[in-house]
C-alpha cells in the first residue's frame, strides 16, 4: 500500500536554518544539510526547504545549498521560496532538487504552472496554496499570507491541477501556529476535488493530529516545522504512533 508521508519543513535564510532549531545532537543546528540528514535518519519521508532569503544576490547561496543537500540526503526533497521562472526551476532541478514549489508567482501568472510542468513534468511542480476563511469562503492569500486575492481556494486548486501542478501544499493560515490540529474539513474537501496528492500544513500540535489529517482529512502527506525543530514530536515515535492507528506509514 502507498504510505502516507511525513514531511518536515526547514526554513532557510542565507543558506542557514532559521526558526528555533534546538537539537542537542547536532554539531551545527544551523546547517540545513545536517538537520535534514537527521530527519531522514529518523524516518522523514521527504523534506521541504523553504528559502526565505530576501535578496537576489544571496540566492546563489541557495543553489550551492541545494547541491549539498542532494549530495548528502538520500530521500526526495522539495525547494520553495521565490521561484518565479522556468529557469529558476531548471537551476534547482539541475542542482538536485526533486521538486520545486511555487506560490505567489502562480497566482500572479498562472500560465507559469503550465510552462513549468510542460518543461519538467508535473511530478516536480508543487503548488503551494495559503488560505484563510473570510467568513464566506476559503480565500487564497499570497506574499507569505499578507495579501488576500479574492480567489476561492476550491476554484484555485482545480485550476492549478488542470494547469499541470503535480501536488498541492495546502496551508490553512487559520490553523498555522495554533497547534490545535490541521484543517480537516478543508483538506478533505480539496483532496476529494483534485486527483493529485495533497500535503496538509498548519496546525500540527500532537501525534493524534497527524492521524486525524490522514483519516478524516484524507491528506496524502502532512507537513510540519516547529514541532519537529523544538523536539516536541520525534519523527520516529510519530511514525510508530500513526502505524499503531492503522494508517499505512513507512
Amino acid at each position: 500500500m502507498l504510505a502516507k508521508r511525513i514531511i518536515p519543513c526547514l526554513d532557510v535564510k542565507d543558506g542557514r536554518t532559521v526558526k528555533g532549531v534546538n537539537f542537542v545532537d547536532l554539531r551545527d543546528a544551523g546547517d540545513p544539510v545536517e538537520l535534514g540528514s537527521l530527519y531522514a535518519q529518523k524516518g522523514a519521508d521527504e523534506l521541504t526547504f523553504l528559502d526565505i532569503t530576501a535578496t537576489v544576490e544571496k540566492r546563489k547561496t541557495l543553489s550551492q545549498l541545494v547541491k549539498r543537500i542532494a549530495e548528502h540526503i538520500h530521500i526526495p526533497f522539495t525547494v520553495g521560496g521565490g521561484i518565479r521562472t522556468v529557469d529558476d526551476v531548471r537551476v534547482m532541478l539541475e542542482c538536485g532538487a526533486d521538486k520545486i514549489s511555487i506560490n505567489s508567482e502562480a497566482v500572479k501568472n498562472p500560465s507559469i504552472i503550465d510552462a513549468m510542468s510542460m518543461e519538467f513534468g508535473s511530478q516536480c511542480v508543487v503548488c503551494a496554496v495559503d488560505t484563510k476563511y473570510n467568513g464566506r469562503f476559503w480565500e487564497v492569500y499570497v506574499h507569505g499570507g499578507r495579501t488576500p486575492t479574492g480567489i476561492r481556494t476550491l476554484d484555485w486548486v482545480k485550476e492549478v491541477e488542470s494547469r499541470g501542478a503535480g501536488e498541492l501544499l495546502l496551508t490553512s493560515m487559520d490553523h498555522d501556529g495554533t497547534k490545535d490540529g490541521f484543517a480537516l474539513e478543508l483538506t478533505r474537501e480539496v483532496s476529494s476535488l483534485v486527483s493529485v496528492p495533497v500535503i496538509a500544513s498548519g496546525g500540527a500540535g500532537t501525534m493524534g493530529h497527524f492521524v486525524d489529517i490522514f483519516t478524516e482529512g484524507k491528506a496524502d502527506a502532512a507537513l510540519a516545522a516547529s514541532i519537529f525543530h523544538f523536539h516536541e514530536i520525534d519523527i520516529a515515535e510519530l511514525k510508530e504512533y500513526i502505524r499503531s492507528h492503522d494508517v499505512v506509514i513507512r
Partner: protein, 206 residues
C-alpha cells in the same frame, strides 16, 4: 568498490541524483553517450525522468538504442529507464527498446496518478534484492507501469500488481528510485554494483 560505472547521458536522465547516489557510495562513474565508453564500462545505469516518445526519438537519432540493447555488462534502468527497456509504452504509443516483453500501460482511473511516494515491494526474486525483505518501502513517482510478467523480479501494488523490477539476462530495470529510497535504495544499488561483470569475457569471445 573500484570499478567504473557509466551513466547513460541522454535527454531524459536525472543524472545529478544518480551521480550523487554513486558519490555517496564512493563509486567512480562517468556520464557518457559514447558507445565505446558505454561498452567498456563495468556497469551501466540508465536513469530516466521524462516522457517516453521524446526519449526514444533522442536515443534512435543517435543510434543509442542499438548500443544499449547490445550491452553485455550488468545494466540498470531506473523509472522511465525501465519503461524504455520494455517493448511498447502507451505513453504516446511509443515503440521502446524491446528488452522486456512486458507492456507499459497508463494506470487506470481510480486512485491518484502519478503514483507518488513510498510503497512496498513483494515477490522479490533476484540477487538485486539480496538482504532486502518483502514489504520494504521504496520511493516511486510514475504514471505508467510495466505489467507483471515472466521477467518480473519484484512486484508492487497500486490499484493492481505491477512490475517494480524486471530482469532478463544482464538487463535489470527498477520502476522506483533507488537513489531516493533511503537505506533500502542504497542497498539495492550496492547489490547491483556487486553483480559479476563479464564484459571482459565477452570481449575475449569477440
Amino acid at each position: 568498490m573500484n570499478q567504473q560505472v557509466a551513466i547513460v547521458k541522454y535527454n531524459a536522465g536525472n543524472i545529478w541524483s544518480m551521480s550523487c547516489a554513486l558519490k555517496r557510495l564512493g563509486v567512480d562513474y562517468i556520464v557518457t553517450d559514447d558507445p565505446k565508453e558505454l561498452s567498456s564500462a563495468q556497469k551501466v545505469i540508465f536513469p530516466g525522468v521524462g516522457e517516453a516518445s521524446t526519449a526514444m526519438r533522442y536515443l534512435r537519432e543517435r543510434g543509442l538504442d542499438e548500443v544499449l540493447r547490445d550491452l553485455k555488462q550488468p545494466f540498470l534502468g531506473v523509472c522511465l529507464g525501465l519503461q524504455l527497456m520494455c517493448s511498447h509504452s502507451e505513453e504516446h504509443d511509443t515503440t521502446c527498446l524491446g528488452i522486456f516483453d512486458e507492456p507499459v500501460r497508463r494506470f487506470p482511473v481510480g486512485l491518484k496518478v502519478p503514483h507518488m511516494g513510498w510503497n512496498t515491494l513483494f515477490d522479490l526474486k533476484s540477487d538485486l534484492f539480496t538482504g532486502i525483505t518483502s514489504e520494504s518501502y521504496v520511493y516511486f513517482v510514475h504514471s505508467y507501469y510495466a505489467a507483471a510478467g515472466p521477467d518480473s523480479i519484484a512486484l508492487c501494488d497500486y490499484m493492481l500488481p505491477f512490475s517494480a523490477a524486471l530482469q532478463k539476462d544482464n538487463f535489470f530495470g527498477v520502476q522506483f528510485h533507488p537513489e531516493k529510497s533511503g537505506a533500502i535504495g542504497e542497498q539495492i544499488l550496492k547489490n547491483f554494483l556487486a553483480l559479476e561483470s563479464d564484459t571482459k569475457s565477452e570481449a575475449d569471445h569477440v
